[in-house]
Point group: C2
């Protein structure tokens, strides 16, 4: 059994590679909920949905987010009505949020709803929101305080960030299912997601970091920075702005004490000694999953 | 200035006829909100939307509800996900509810949102929810207590009703705008909507019935029953089940003391004396608005 601490796209690709690599392995993902938002009355969980759509093979490769074959009738009309449509919700995607919102209103937990949706999408991995309690990632920026999606989507993560907060995290309860997955899996993998805004809100839920510290020999992190560059999103820029080295070494230091092994890309081989000096084993492989055989190589490295 | 107490379809057709009849008249509608519901996290106001869509010329004549040119991508997917889709929300229609829900969440009132949406749809009449406070019409039935839409849509109003309640109505505040419209219009018209479930929840908001009683000489009701039959919906059946005569006389008795004039259809001319005996003037005309010239005749009768 493998459990993956997960953000969105990078985690989804790693999970897909792990599933392809070994059809029989029992896979769970403990997923960030700090990006979750309520908009237009709808409860939206971007990381959970990104993973779900990707693993169902229903993701939109052209856009890099959302569903394949999507249409935008509701959003277009919402714009015509003068509504806020900077956070684009496709007609098919809306169904996910309608389903979730209705079930939550009837008293289901986010964990329940995630299980129901995952089943409907035919997933054979267990998706677990790290907590059923609300956690909201917030950014102090040159434009003032922004919610995650205001920062990420509305402002295209193109503003200077001075601090990141995870509102609600310290009071959030680690879900039983997530605790079980973290306690009982043979291996815990930290996906190549943004350490500061995708993984840290998971680590900040009381219980998670202590389980990792105790089990650190079984914890493997995959660096999301390759040659100092993130494949997607603002990881590199945020690492710099918040005082970290924007490379594999900075990532290793961020996870120091929580991981037994760090996987870095071949192009970062010259960082290997410095990473090892933070107190973990280092494995060097290709970490870019754009091509299937590379993704398999990463899955190999993670499993070995 | 004319103010119309309004349910959905029948009121929308009367308002459209009044607008066509006199392009210059200042028209307001004080609209029932007892059918309003929250579903999938969305705030939905069926009567307000029916009137808005109809007056914008955007209504779906084939269905008899909703928007012309509608598509159903979100609903179809919601059904595939195992979600509740008995209350069909088209992709374009969803935009209205997304807009409203977001604005309400930001602190706007239903009155504010109705004004914004009416403007976006290009309406030249003033649509006013009777109250910004929640009112929920409920039915005691052979299947237990049902919400309005469970009764009307889910069970196709094909269940025996023993009582109707308007939860919240007695504590609801008549909106200032609705009060102004009722106090200051030259004429108040009760639309040919269902007296028991479309008009009564308006009358039950404190202040409305007393204004009508005081101004009864200026109040005209249009009977929704023609030859004892409703053009649409369960008016006839509900009148019977709840102990009223299911004809123009039953309607006149229901509005007794609140109206100065009752308009009945030519086919109900034999009821004229009995209706007059309830204490109101009677006008006889065609009340069926399916054809434009008939609608004009009704508008004439209402205005004269």
């Amino acid at each position: 059994m493998i459990t993956v601490l997960s953000g969105g796209v990078g985690a989804a690709r790693l999970l897909r590679a792990l599933r392809r690599h070994d059809n029989g392995v029992d896979l769970s993902a403990v997923v960030n909920v700090g990006d979750d938002l309520t908009m237009h009355g709808l409860s939206i969980c971007p990381d959970l949905d990104t993973i779900m759509y990707t693993l169902a093979g229903a993701n939109n490769d052209d856009l890099g987010w959302g569903l394949a074959g999507e249409t935008w009738r509701a959003m277009q009309r919402l714009g015509e009505l003068g509504g806020e449509n900077w956070f684009a919700l496709g007609d098919l995607d809306l169904a996910t949020h309608l389903y979730r919102s209705q079930r939550l209103a009837l008293g289901a937990t986010k964990t329940d709803v995630t299980h129901e949706l995952s089943t409907a999408f035919g997933l054979d991995i267990t998706l677990l929101p790290v907590s059923d309690d609300p956690i909201a990632t917030e950014f102090d920026t040159e434009l003032g305080t922004l919610s995650f999606q205001e920062y990420f989507v509305r402002h295209h993560h193109d503003v200077v960030v001075t601090a990141v907060r995870f509102r609600g995290a310290s009071a959030a309860r680690l879900s039983e299912q997530s605790r079980d997955a973290l306690e009982n899996s043979d291996r815990i993998i930290i996906a190549p997601s943004n350490p500061l805004i995708s993984i840290d809100p998971i680590l900040k839920v009381p219980g998670v970091a202590s389980i990792l510290a105790r089990r650190r020999d079984d914890v493997i992190a995959v660096s999301p920075l390759v040659g100092g560059v993130a494949l997607k999103g603002p990881t590199e820029r945020l690492m710099r702005e918040l005082g970290h080295d924007a490379n594999a070494l900075g990532v290793a230091r961020f996870y120091q004490g929580l991981i037994g092994t760090m996987i870095i890309d071949v192009v970062d081989a010259d960082h290997a000694d410095a990473v090892a000096a933070t107190g973990c084993d280092v494995r060097i492989t290709t970490t870019v999953m754009a091509e299937d055989d590379h993704a398999m190589a990463l899955a190999d490295a993670v499993r070995s």
